[in-house]
């Protein structure tokens, strides 16, 4: 399954922006995204264990909604940098269909080229992606059961 290019517009924007920056500026870029995400309200009642992704150094919450056949995600974290990272993930991969979302892979995460930059590493980003994929599957299953 290939993902329709227009559905990856946000992702490609991140890739291009990061590509032009040196490491130090990338660090600040992520912080800026985190700070901007901080201004978008995240429903307080979703900052609960049900939406929490388990990690040790910081907390990550992700909520999932559906618009027609498109999956939408919103993420939050108690740490700004992690909020920046989770926003990049939810921003990049919102608006995809179930099949498209399932085909997002480690290569996409690598494509953002954040691995060497942050303490959160690709492992953490992959965990976020897996969590998003899991949420979409759960939602699909719940609908099927209705």
């Amino acid at each position: 399954m290939t993902i329709a290019a227009e559905n990856l517009a946000q992702y490609n924007e991140y890739v291009e922006a990061l590509d032009m920056l040196d490491e130090e500026s990338r660090f600040e870029y992520i912080i800026d995204i985190g700070k901007r995400a901080d201004k978008v309200p995240f429903p307080a009642d979703c900052m609960d264990d049900a939406h929490l992704m388990h990690g040790c150094m910081s907390k990550v919450w992700i909520i999932h909604t559906r618009e027609d056949d498109r999956h939408k995600f919103q993420g939050a974290s108690d740490a700004i940098i992690v909020k920046g990272l989770v926003s990049m993930m939810t921003g990049s991969f919102s608006g995809l269909t179930s099949a498209e979302l399932a085909s997002v892979s480690l290569d996409h995460v690598r494509g953002l080229n954040l691995g060497a930059l942050t303490m959160q590493r690709q492992v953490g980003m992959m965990a976020m992606l897996k969590h998003m994929q899991k949420l979409s599957l759960q939602a699909a299953r719940a609908e099927a059961a209705d």
Binding site: E23, I31, C56, A79
Partner: protein
């Protein structure tokens, strides 16, 4: 340059208090590394310390020239390496002033040493309703083994409280010794707060009531002289990798009469005297507790680490670290936004803190950009974090190779974090 508040302003000029830290730094190859294009500032020695050339060389030398199994070969290599391996037991015994090398059990780490005591001494001598007393600032390694014993045997886990500075409440501790307490298992130095506990007093109060004491010396052996006889500790445990030695080796010291009464821990080779399918008899301590091929190369490495720190002198190391601690505390507290956890008067060079309004992860990530390695999170001490009322802290744990100059680097990075996130 050696007085607190007058930091050496340049790397390479760090003869602090007569301690030639620059010479010591040259013994640690990794310290010349760059991280993100900046010199590595390693402030995570409390998690695991870096290794001096002497340790690396000793281990390489064994692997290249002397390697074989120990305790079982009739040949030259096995006999010489066995002698060398057993020599390390003597080195360890001397290091903590144990009466005999036969009271030194080699384990994988502190965690295994505590599990060993719980599984042998604990299973044999503790029963339903008996209390094991720990403190509110234990590492999980000194909590979970006792909880497992609680679930298995119905013992009670009791917790001695601390005050807001991170000092053990000795009166409360003494009161908790009464009643059902049958064992004290307590840290000698907090890995989060740096608090040095009054171990001799802790042991004395317990012994007045006939209660044995296990001390977790993981952090304490690194920061000063430990004398298990002066402390009158019944068990003393520590781990090699924080003491500038390799990982995968730890130590359990025990009083001879206690070790003699303890059943084996794991079964297998090395720990047996005779084996038939009907009956097996066990070796005397310490071998009874060391089933299977031991960490041979790691033991040689730990021996080299102990020789290395002993040659410098634990008192000299402690004095240097006191200067670092005082300097780091002063510089941190001069920042407007630092909340420091752990202000005990007796304290090792471990600084846990948060920057007000900034998540510890964001602080640590900014430090990382400056080449400064710290730990962030709960530090394997979740109950302590709950007591402090925080989700986590940043922890800078200093060691003998650190300098005031490096502390300045951390302070600058903290100022940058304030600009980025404030």
């Amino acid at each position: 340059m050696n007085a607190i508040g007058q930091p050496s302003s340049q790397p390479g000029h760090n003869i602090e208090g007569g301690f030639d830290v620059e010479r010591i730094r040259q013994d640690f190859p990794i310290l010349s590394r760059q991280i993100h294009g900046k010199p590595l500032v390693y402030f995570d020695s409390g998690a695991s310390a870096q290794k001096p050339r002497a340790v690396i060389d000793a281990m390489t030398e064994v692997l290249e020239n002397q390697y074989t199994n120990v305790h079982r070969g009739a040949h030259y290599l096995s006999q010489t390496l066995t002698d060398r391996y057993e020599g390390v037991r003597e080195t360890i015994a001397r290091f903590i002033n144990a009466p005999s090398e036969n009271q030194i059990v080699i384990t994988r780490n502190t965690t295994e040493a505590i599990n060993l005591v719980a599984a042998t001494y604990g299973r044999k001598f503790l029963g339903k309703g008996d209390g094991v007393l720990v403190s509110a600032m234990e590492h999980h390694a000194n909590i979970v083994p006792w909880q497992m014993l609680r679930d298995e045997k119905g013992i009670e886990l009791k917790v001695a409280p601390i005050d807001d500075a991170g000092v053990l409440d000795l009166d409360a501790y003494a009161a908790l010794l009464d009643g059902n307490t049958k064992l004290v298992a307590i840290t000698h130095c907090s890995n989060v707060l740096g608090t040095m506990l009054p171990a001799a007093e802790i042991v004395g109060l317990a012994h007045e009531r006939g209660i044995p004491v296990l001390l977790d010396g993981s952090q304490a052996v690194v920061h000063g002289t430990v004398d298990v006889q002066a402390l009158d500790a019944d068990f003393y445990v520590f781990t090699g990798h924080k003491l500038y030695g390799p990982n995968a080796i730890g130590v359990l010291y025990g009083k001879a009469e206690l070790l003699a009464q303890m059943p084996p821990y794991q079964g297998g080779g090395d720990m047996i005297a005779t084996v038939t399918f009907e009956k097996t008899t066990y070796q005397e301590p310490p071998y009874r507790f060391e089933a299977g091929t031991p960490p041979i190369v790691e033991a040689i490495g730990l021996g080299a680490a102990i020789d290395y720190v002993s040659a410098i002198g634990m008192e000299a190391i402690a004095a240097h670290e006191r200067l670092l601690l005082a300097y780091a505390t002063e510089r941190l507290m001069a920042l407007p936004d630092i909340q420091l956890f752990g202000t005990a008067p007796e304290k090792a060079a471990i600084l846990s803190f948060i920057q007000q309004g900034i998540h510890p992860f964001d602080t640590a990530a900014t430090l990382d950009r400056a080449g400064v390695a710290v730990r962030v999170g709960q530090h394997c001490a979740e109950p302590l974090m709950a007591r402090l009322g925080v989700d986590g802290t940043v922890r800078a744990s200093l060691a003998m190779y650190n300098t005031t100059y490096e502390i300045d680097t951390m302070i600058k990075a903290l100022e940058r974090a304030r600009t980025l996130f404030g």
